[in-house]
Every structure is written in C-alpha cells, then in structure tokens.
C-alpha cells in the first residue's frame, strides 16, 4: 500500500480502458496516484499495485478524484466504494 492511500482506501478508481484514450487530465489531477505510460495512458504510480485497473485512493484524494471523474472527456473513470 502506498503512502498516498494509507492503510484503508476510501475507494478505488476504476479505469475503463475501452474508453480511455490517454488525454491525461487524471494524471495531472492525481499525480500521487497516476503517472503516464509510454503512450500517455494512466499508469498506477505505485509499481507494487496488484490490480492495475483498480487504483486505491485515500480520503485526502477524494476531491481530486471527484474532479478527475467529472473532467475525464472520455468518461473512463468510475469510483468504486467498499460494499
């Protein structure tokens, strides 16, 4: 678990790869969670992360996550909450 998320993630950011085309707004809003890969697509900043399409985030990132979801021009991001 990376320092950015803490032990208990507030939620997970799901990336719909079939929609994403690497515009990069999410990587600008969430630099502690997402960097860009060779082709510009968002890549989990934590290289140890097991699920690379389901990025955990902490409470401190809530606002930026909400912005990233709202501003993604491809509507490729979804917030998943613990059931």
């Amino acid at each position: 678990m990376s320092a950015a998320t803490g032990p208990e993630p507030a939620g997970h950011l799901h990336i719909n790869w079939t929609r994403c085309d690497g515009r990069g707004i999410c990587t600008e809003l969430l630099p502690s969670l997402l960097i860009r890969d060779d082709w510009g697509y968002p890549l989990a900043a934590d290289p140890e992360l097991a699920e690379k399409s389901r990025i955990p985030f902490g409470r401190a990132s809530e606002r930026d996550v909400a912005d990233a979801v709202a501003l993604c021009p491809r509507l490729a991001l979804t917030v998943l909450r613990p059931r």
């Binding site: 790869w17 994403c20 085309d21 890969d37 290289p47 399409s53």
Partner: protein
Amino acid sequence: MTISPASAAFRGTNAAAPEGNNRLFAAGAYANYRSHLLTYGPAGTGYATAGLLELLEASGLTGRGGAGFAAWRKAAATAAARGRFGGGPVVIANGAEGEPLSFKDRTLLHHAPHLVLDGLLAAADALAASRVYLYTAASNLPPVRQAIGERPEAGRIRLVEAPDTFISGEASAVVNAIESGSATPVDRIGRLTEHGFKGRPTLVQNVETLAHLGLIARFGPDWFRSAGTERDPGTRLVSVSGDVPAEQVLEVAGETPLVDVLRAAGADPSALSGVLVGGFHGRWVDPGNLLLSAAGPAQEIVRPGAGVVFALGSHRCGLAETARIAAYLATQSAGKCGPCRFGLPALSATLDRLAYGGADPALLPELRRLQSMVAGRGSCHHPDGTVQLTASALAVFADDVDRHLAGYCNRKELLS
C-alpha cells in the same frame, strides 16, 4: 437422495456409464442421436432431478475453456442473481475456440454434439433460463444444426456464428457478439453471472464443460470423480500439436503427467526444447515431473488452460517461436484498450529483436519493463495472457536468451 457410485447404470436403459478415460467420444465418430442414446441412455431424468447445482458442486468439475473456474460457482452465482437482476437468466454454450492451437472443441462438436446439447439443456433447465445460445465458428454449425434437428426439445437453442478471431471466445466478447454482433470484449465492473446479456444473469460455459455436465447429470458426481484425482477430478480433452507424429485430441484424466500426454501422442519428451501448455495465453514449461492439472501446488502442476499441449522440438528456437506467437497476439488485440493496442506491438517488436539477432543487453530489462507495463491494464485478459506467455519464455528458454544476447543461437532454426 444418496448418490450411488460408479455402478450408476441408467434406469430403464441398457446404457452404462462409460468406463476408463474414454468418456466424451464413447459413442464413436460422428455420433448421431441414436448412437448417443444407445451409449449413454436418455438425459433429463435420473440424477438431474436431485438438483444439478448440488451435483456439479460434488463433482468438482472445472471449466475447460481456459480459466478453469469451478463450474458450480458460476452456475450458482447465475442462479442467485435470478430475480435480483432483470430478466430470466441466459445460458450460452461457448464453442468459439479462438485459440489457433486448440481443436478439441471443434472435434467435440463434430463427433459428440449431443453431449454438448445435453449439458446445455440441463444447465438451462436448472436455471430456468429464458434464452439458450450456442456460439461457435461457422464450420461447426452444420453438425450442431443437424444434432438439434434430431431432438425436438433442443429447438429452443439459438445458434450464433462466432468470428474467426483469437479473442472471440473471451466471455464478455461472447456476450457482446450475441448482443450486438461485435465479438470484442467490453469493460465490466460486475460479473456476467449478474449483469450479462442485456443486463440479465448470464452463464457462459465452454462446450466441453457442458459435455461433462451432461454426463454428470446422468451418472452422478462419484462416477465423474472415478477418473482423475481428488483435486483435479474427471477427464479433459487436450489438443496435442507441434513436433508430434500426428496432431490429435486426447482425453486424459486429471493430473496426468505432462510427459505421459506427450508420449501418448508419440512425442519423445527428452527431444523437446519446451512445451507450450494452455494455448497462446498459456506458458512454456520444461515438462519434467509436471502434472497437467487445474489445481495443486504451483511447482508441481501446469494448468491446462484451453487444453493445449504444443511440443517444440529441440531443433527449434523457443524465442523465435514465442516471437511469432507474440506478433500474432499483437495483431489480435481488439484495439479497444490503449495499453494493449500499443503495448503488445512494442513487446512483440522487442521480442523480435531478441529472437532474430539483436545482441543488445538492454533488450532483457526492456522486455521486463514492457511486460509489467502491459499486464493487468485491459478490460480483458489478452494483455495479461500475452505477458504470461512471454515471461514464461524468458524463464524456460533462459539459456537461449543468454546465447542470443551473446550473438548466436544453437538451434538449427537459426537467427537470420
């Protein structure tokens, strides 16, 4: 009700449960409905009344299409979703078999279509399905159509043609193909068993899995478990190809040593560079003492995946072979997900350089970097499966990697 063991001769017929490992093709080549019934007895009564889901759970049957997931879990999840989610459940027999090295499903549909229909109809009845589909390549439709015509109760099965692409059999692509005509994977947060075809609970099972299911409904879980082992019960079909005297489909018991499968197909395990098990999304292994099994400790087993066993003769270069397969897999990306669309060609190009002559020490770390960049970043497992293949090649052909990096290859099929 108590399930009696293998003695399960079917009530009211002379048919007995098949003995030994020849189960799915016991009715002979191109079996019609009559020879099917003479061999196995009628379906739809007997054990099936005990509750198919319970029988499936007791049988330990796992999926034979690739993932090897417990058949009863998927069926139970679909049953549980019934009523909670809109519409009646949908049951789909998946006979797409996009794996170029797999031909066991095709063989099954041509020679034993009625077993598949038995299993499909039994699953559809158990789930009170609203729609029933069989999805397979155009070349397999005639024998299935003929089999359906031989039994009126099969008239509810709708046939859908699968395109000839690698990814056409991926479960979400199957549902998408039937729903929209486009056999490409779609992004899913939930499971198909809950939200599948038009939002309905949907069970997608490989045709061989359904054939076993049809027999379990007849003869019971104890009979099913009389072949194979506790942790890998029953039999499975394998497509054996590559450097063997004749390509063939074999039916083998669970946990059969891989070398026994190779020898049964006439290959000498000591004369091989490596063996690709599971298909293009599978892994290269050195057969050693590995058992072909859906479950067990990682160092003792190799998962059969789609049932592919491809033998590579010791005169051939495993890196060149893997580069060829990776190039094909890159062309088979549906192109929907960026990391797969761009990552697989990059991985393939780098592997090409290693296979065909680039004695550059940076190639190996670059391959590893690309593998980790691609894996897990798609809506289906195409990138993950491709990385499993290339990573296993780097491990099993590690000596070849060293030679290639030093500028030569000691296989007869040489660097050009």
